[in-house]
Amino acid sequence: MIQTQFQFLEEEMKGRDRSRNCLIEMRGIHKSFPGVHALKGVNFDLHEGEVHCLVGENGAGKSTLIKILSGVYHPDEGEIYFFGQKIRKINPYIAREMGISFIYQELDLFPFLTVGENIFLGSEPCSRLGRVNWKKLYCGSVQILDSLNFPLDVKTKVGNLTVAERQMVAVAKALCRKSKVLVMDEPSAVLSGKELDVLFDNIKRLKEEGVGIIYISHRLEEIFEIGDRVTVLRDGRCIDTAKVKDVTVQEITRKMVGREVKLYKKSLNSEVSLNREKIILSVVGLTKHGLFQDISFELRRGEVLGFAGLVGARRTEVMKSLIGVEPADRGKIYLEGKEITIRSPKQALKLGIGYVPENRKEEGLVGCRPVVENISYSVLEKLSNCLSFLRMSQLKKLCQSLHKTLDIKLTSYKQPVENLSGGNQQKVVLARWIAAQCKVLIFDEPTRGIDVGAKAEVHRLIKKLATEGKGIIVISSELPEVLALSTRILVMSEGRITAEVLPEQGVTKEEILKFALPKSLKHEE
């Protein structure tokens, strides 16, 4: 096996032409970010006229791999060949010039420009003096959209379109370049059944024309509908590349989630008795139109309630409406038996509900400010005297005690948070919410982007908080994490709770994933 690979390499070095078939080849790609080794020697290739699917759990390294391909990130190690030619440095511009188009999850469309302008941006039909031929541009856009079987008014501003329509504009934009390689990052996440059919028809047509397509999706059924080969990534490693017709959904699922779970093994805390009777928070029929429906659950003192699901299951949205960022349309929330309405996170905090957001850099921490300030934001009111001056001695005492319990590694309290490692940053976030002394704490992806050691420590802290009698909700897309942390797990899919399971009863990851996968691939509009 290894030898054949070397033979490949030798052939390549001799300049043998394998380019006719192989559009993209990535070998031994390594990439590290502060605190995480995101890719550990990934190999990936793409041939003419095939759809190569890339699957993996969140955080497996799919997006990182794609961003390396597009030149947004540079690999630490490894070689990349486009059309058999070794590429030293890629930037988005070069990638485009070489005929590689990307359709990202965050679409690169301009909301203030019209559909036509967006489609032809960068390749406008022009006169010699640089005057844009608008007639040609708009007729061309109509043609492309018609060929996609997706007519749109090419004059409307993209900002006025629905997400699904934008997705099709992005596809049209990629097509108008006559790309040889098309990379689609979760194109189906926002499409409904009919639009999805249109997209698949187009993918099939492009395939016949010899275009190579890299297709990333969470919906495994899609892979079996359009994929030729599938590569499974897990923890930054390439687990398997296989022909789609040779594998089953179960096999892929198993490969996706089958990571070692040693770290997540139940610790001593698991036998702590729960106050099953003491319901601290109960939510009844929470609904927000177009996002989630009829979410009901109860949270007890000392319990860790896990929310499992895939990206797009709307778990974050539920929590955000719970703490009043975007209040729900319907539904009731009871805290310790009393009905409450929460209109803002500040009010939620006052009532004792804390939310530790998913994205600590953007929503949680103020990176350039010192650790001490970041810890104290949630308790400034409690720590200040009647004239709003801060009681510095108390603040210092608080920081010292939290520092000790959480074991945050820092040089001084004045150190800016952004200089800490990912794990320690997350601990600072935790410290803030512990300081706030909430009754209910909601953790959204508490260990995203931090390394394994720090993960275990965060888990220990979360359990410790639970044993202190707080009610804890954990949202995580990593199933082993949910399984190890939670006393009870709710599975969400497409804005609904689809199952409630107890890890104690030996639920497997595959079973949970079955509930988490969107049920209807083609639901009605």
Partner: protein
Amino acid sequence: MKEAPIKIAEREKLVSLRGFKELVLRLSLGLILGGLVIIASFLSPAFLNTKNVLNILSQSSILGCLAIGQTLVILSAGIDLSVGSTLALSSMICALLADYNIVLVFLIALGVGSGFGAVSGVFVQKLRIPPFIATLGMMSVIRGIALVLTWGAPIETRRYVFIAEKNIGVVPLLGIIWISIGLVMHFVLIQTRVGHHLFTIYDEEKSSTSGVDVTKLKIGVYALSGFFASLGGILYISRLFHGYSMAGIGKELDSIAAVLIGGTSLFGGKGSMIGTIIGVIVLGILENLMNLLNVSMYLQSTVRGLVVLLVVYLNIQKTT
């Protein structure tokens, strides 16, 4: 599904309607302008006098030049604070070189202005200094150079007065110069490839992945802003027959105000040159009216500030 919702022939009609649609969108700004004219003509009978109207056009010429360049920079999500200083430096160059060939002098003045503009652009794009800081620095640097040339003393020259005195028909040349430049730039913005790309460079990552040469364009807009500021300096010396190193102080803020009145977003990507032209005229009318009514210079500043706030507030309402 098969047939397109609008047939191609109909779409062609829509293409020609493009300009009209934009005009309608600008209507609210037009209404403000119209309202201002009506109020002004009631308040002061002298206002609608042809001579006075034409006077407003030529008085607005200097600010007009600055604002045209400023529009391009702001569309790229930048800002150019150095235009006032560049204007002063350009007027000094023209005054010092008054004895030389006039075409050569203008080329030097415009070249120096564009050069300094390009330097700002390099600071912003290559060295990643935020536009506000980069051009704040350049503002000081250029002002210093202008001051050093004569140690602050103004130079009088009537060499260039002929430009300001020239009329074509009844219309003063100064007015024609800035308005026609504005219209040309408007055409460039909405009709050419480069102009079209200008609307996207506020978001560098998206724009470059679409294949737009962001670096060239960003440096380009600062160079153009410097160019137009120098032109403003030439118009300044022709109107006031002095090269003055302290000229144009505060003009950079006026130019930004005009651009904002014209509906261009400070965050880039949205706006129009026609809007800026109207913005300049609105400020010109306001000043003219207050002069006619003998409003004190000190109070004028307050009134102008309030108008800027009001119009920008209306622009925000329009978009949300």
